[in-house]
């Protein structure tokens, strides 16, 4: 056995007892196949003084299993390539092969932080297919629980944001906030993470005493607590200096890339599905669509916009509680649903943007085609755009400010 004369040779390479695989020790980010697209060929070519570095899929700060290959020059990011698909389950196909009641539990874990919205949009689409009228009380309960879920999601966003910038404390305060809401929703839906609560034609069970007492208790201090929690970061010079002017997203780019939700509103565009294409009982409720954008849609804008949204959600919850009508929470529906052939589209405003479902029925008990539009996927496409010529440390800040959830991206 002749030893190859490589300059970096590990001493144990000559030891016959050790089975040494050189490719394990010297892992490169470059994929083992020839480039498939021009973009790939361009990206995986190293310039002078550049190197690749892998962020994820197992990395302390990636949200879920996202892998980002960074091409860096010193501390500066030259280019980056998000690699998706580590959480792909083929949910759309699964949905096309399950009956309408079953789909509810398939789409639940898509955006696992805000799973009520994942249920809401397919359920709405199917209701349009079936031409069902949802009882008003059920609609109010949907709005109430949905807004609670929005607060939950935004609270976690703030914690993660701080954690990616190195702050240890806000994430735990956020989790305390989240836990209160999760307990509250668990008392009405029965679960803490994947609520599986909305049904076609209503909701699964009326609000109960447990829920109301928890909600009332929480509402008395929610606003103050939220104010106090955000105070730690909002005024912190280090935080503000890091976030300001970072990852600027202008309005034209945002619209061109079909960005929705807080990321779009942070560029100064007041587009909110709840107002633009009203659904459920939102037309009856009073709330503002907050926008930001004095700094040109940077990370700080996106952060502060979510802080504002929580206040609006609290307002909506308050109104829901005051205006909630009596009545049934579930429409009368047969066990086996066979909608007439046709197609329906339904969009809701989730915490990350427009969450939409497009369903085609062929008259059987399963949808012929079901397409799910996920806002995180589109937000993630912005990252290479926003990250050009920033520093390594900013990758996570930009990514956290866009708030993608990998469950929804990979579907």
């Amino acid at each position: 056995m002749t030893a190859p004369s490589t300059p970096h040779r590990h001493p144990s390479a000559d030891d016959p007892r050790i089975l040494l695989d050189d490719s394990i020790g010297q892992f490169e980010a470059i994929p083992p196949y020839p480039p498939r697209t021009e973009r790939e060929a361009e990206f995986y070519e190293l310039g002078d003084g550049e190197m690749f570095i892998n962020f994820g899929p197992q990395h302390p700060s990636t949200h879920g299993v996202l892998r980002v290959v960074l091409k860096i020059n010193g501390e500066q990011v030259v280019d980056l390539d998000p690699v998706l698909g580590y959480l792909h389950r083929g949910v759309e196909k699964l949905c096309e092969n399950s009956d309408y009641h079953h789909i509810n539990s398939q789409v639940d874990p898509l955006e696992y932080i805000s799973s009520l919205f994942c249920e809401w949009s397919p359920v709405m689409a199917f209701e349009r297919l079936l031409d069902v009228e949802v009882p008003r009380r059920a609609e109010y309960i949907r709005v109430l629980t949905g807004e609670l879920n929005r607060i939950l999601s935004h609270a976690l966003f703030m914690g993660w944001m701080a954690l990616d910038l190195g702050g240890l404390t806000p994430i735990l305060w956020s989790f305390i906030e989240r836990d209160e809401i999760a307990e509250m929703l668990a008392s009405i839906t029965g679960q803490r993470l994947l609520f599986n609560y909305f049904r076609i034609g209503g909701v699964n069970g009326d609000i109960n005493h447990d829920f109301m007492s928890r909600l009332g208790d929480w509402m008395t201090r929610a606003a103050a607590q939220h104010e106090a929690n955000t105070q730690l970061l909002n005024e912190n010079e280090i935080f503000v200096r890091r976030m300001r002017d970072l990852g600027r997203l202008d309005r034209e780019t945002a619209l061109r890339m079909a960005v929705t939700g807080p990321n779009l509103r942070a560029t100064g565009t007041p587009y909110d599905v709840r107002r633009a294409h009203p659904y459920s009982v939102y037309p009856e409720l009073e709330f503002d669509v907050p926008t930001r954008g004095h700094n040109g849609g940077d990370c700080l804008d996106r952060y502060l916009l979510r802080v504002d949204e929580v206040k609006q959600s609290l307002r909506i919850i308050d109104q829901c509680l005051h205006n909630m009508p009596d009545g049934p929470v579930m429409a009368k529906l047969p066990r086996l649903l066979r909608p007439r052939p046709g197609r329906a589209f339904a969009a809701v405003e989730g915490p990350r943007g427009m969450y939409a479902t497009y369903a085609i029925s062929d008259g059987s008990d399963q949808p012929f085609r079901m397409r799910i539009h996920d806002p995180s996927f589109i937000a993630l496409q912005l990252v290479p755009l926003l990250m050009k010529d920033n520093l390594v440390a900013d990758t996570m800040a930009v990514m956290a400010s866009l708030d993608p959830i990998m469950g929804g991206v990979d579907k």
Partner: protein, 448 residues
């Protein structure tokens, strides 16, 4: 008695042999020591006092090595507990009282883990990097005065020594980062090099003001210059210098908000990514030893070292145990028994279903607390170095608390902000501080 019986019954054969032996050692040991001191003592004292410098050095090195690991343990526990409490959670509460032994368990865990060298790592450099990091941290202790007379070596170039040794840390970090064969480690090592080198300059310049004021470079004498009340501390004469020193020292020790070298959300664990086992343990301990060192330096330079904030009136108890003569022996023999009985009496009298042995145990405990308290009080009043050590530790750990508190509150700065802050703000500010101090000294000398 039943408890003792049961404990004896539960013991293994080996334990039944070893326990009496241990008891014997504990009884014979002190007696042997006393006998040794009586007969061989004078000879030994002569020998040692002839070579007092060597003795001092050896004692200091041993003391420092023995002190640094427990100090790191205490700081690690503080960090876990304090940050937990700030996060509105309880933190460690299972091992030991209030979880205080958890950091010891961490240490044991680190000892037991596999010591792993990754493929492709330069194993020689990889092995020696933690040694250098830990040694440089521990060597700094040598010139820190813990109390009057309690200093390893009173070097007349103490400050130079401090910065020279402190600056060597970066060599270890760079070695660790380079030899790990990992890009995260490499980035972490380079970051730490850039950061430590940049902040070394304002750190050194901020102390030059102190040298001008104290007129010496010996750390011990700088500390001694601040004798008196808290108004004599240098922080009031050098507020800007103190602030610069604080910030620069935070950056030197890689603490939040300047902990870029181990920014876990960016470069996993920086230079320590590939380390495991006790090699990681040394890097880890060095980090916390550094926290104690920068706190101790803050206290030494700017917060009056071992001096109490208010000068206490010099109490002279006038205790002269020698004058008791044979009475001392009598006192030592009878006082524990008599006081134990005395303290046990109220426990026995106030509760009529408490067995006598319980009252005796309680009385013994109370006697111990009182005796230790009394001894400590007498030592505090009589011995300067005890009082100095107490004040020094109290102040140092207040600063450690401050560092932990900052870690619980602040996010991390970015690398360009970090460097910009060092060169654009800290360096001019420290030069300004130096200029003002020098000008003030000249003006005061002209006037006086």
């Amino acid at each position: 008695m039943t408890t003792l019986n049961r404990a004896w019954g539960n013991m293994t054969v080996l334990g039944r042999v070893l326990l009496p032996l241990a008891l014997l050692v504990f009884i014979i040991g002190p007696i042997a020591t006393v006998l040794f001191a009586l007969f061989a003592g004078p000879l030994l004292v002569d020998l040692l006092s002839a070579n007092i410098d060597v003795v001092r050095f050896v004692v200091a090195v041993t003391g420092i090595l023995l002190f640094s690991i427990p100090a790191a343990f205490i700081i690690i526990y503080m960090e876990m507990k304090v940050i937990a409490l700030m996060n509105l959670r309880i933190g460690p509460d299972r091992v030991g009282p209030a979880g205080s032994l958890l950091s010891v368990v961490h240490g044991l865990k680190v000892l037991m883990k596999e010591d792993f060298t990754p493929t492709g790592a330069d194993s020689f450099v990889f092995t020696w990097a933690p040694v250098i990091v830990f040694l440089t941290a521990v060597m700094t202790f040598l010139v820190i005065p813990f109390g009057p007379g309690l200093v390893g070596q009173d070097l007349n170039i103490g400050l130079l020594y401090l910065f020279a040794v402190g600056g060597m840390t970066v060599v270890g970090l760079l070695m660790a980062g380079w030899s790990s064969f990992n890009k995260y480690s490499l980035l972490g090592g380079l970051r730490s090099a850039a950061q430590v080198v940049s902040y070394e300059i304002p750190l050194t310049l901020s102390v030059v003001g102190l040298i001008l004021l104290a007129g010496t470079m010996s750390v011990y004498q700088i500390a001694d210059t601040q004798a008196g009340g808290f108004w004599d501390w240098f922080v009031f004469r050098q507020p800007l210098g103190a602030l610069i020193f604080f910030i620069a020292a935070t950056a030197e020790a890689n603490r939040t908000p300047f902990d870029l070298t181990e920014a876990d959300s960016e470069i996993v664990a920086g230079f320590a990514t590939e380390y495991s086992g006790m090699r990681f343990g040394f890097l880890f301990f060095a980090e916390y030893v550094n926290v104690f060192i920068i706190s101790a330096l803050m206290v030494t330079f700017y917060f009056g070292a071992w001096h109490a904030p208010f000068p206490f009136p010099d109490v002279n108890l006038g205790l002269d145990v020698g004058s008791l003569g044979i009475g001392l022996l009598l006192l030592l023999a009878t006082a524990p028994v008599a006081l134990t009985l005395l303290f046990a009496l109220p426990f026995w009298l106030t509760s009529n279903n408490r067995p006598a042995w319980q009252a005796l145990v309680l009385g013994f405990l109370v006697f111990n607390v009182v005796a230790v308290g009394l001894l400590f009080g007498i030592a505090y009043l009589e011995l300067d170095w005890v009082a100095g050590l107490v004040w020094f530790m109290v102040k140092s750990f207040l600063f450690v608390y401050l560092f932990v508190w900052m870690r619980g509150t602040l996010p991390r700065v970015r690398i360009d902000q970090l460097m910009g802050f060092a060169w654009k703000w800290m360096l001019p500010a420290s030069l300004l501080n130096l200029f003002i101090t020098a000008a003030a000294i000249v003006v005061v000398r002209q006037l006086v």
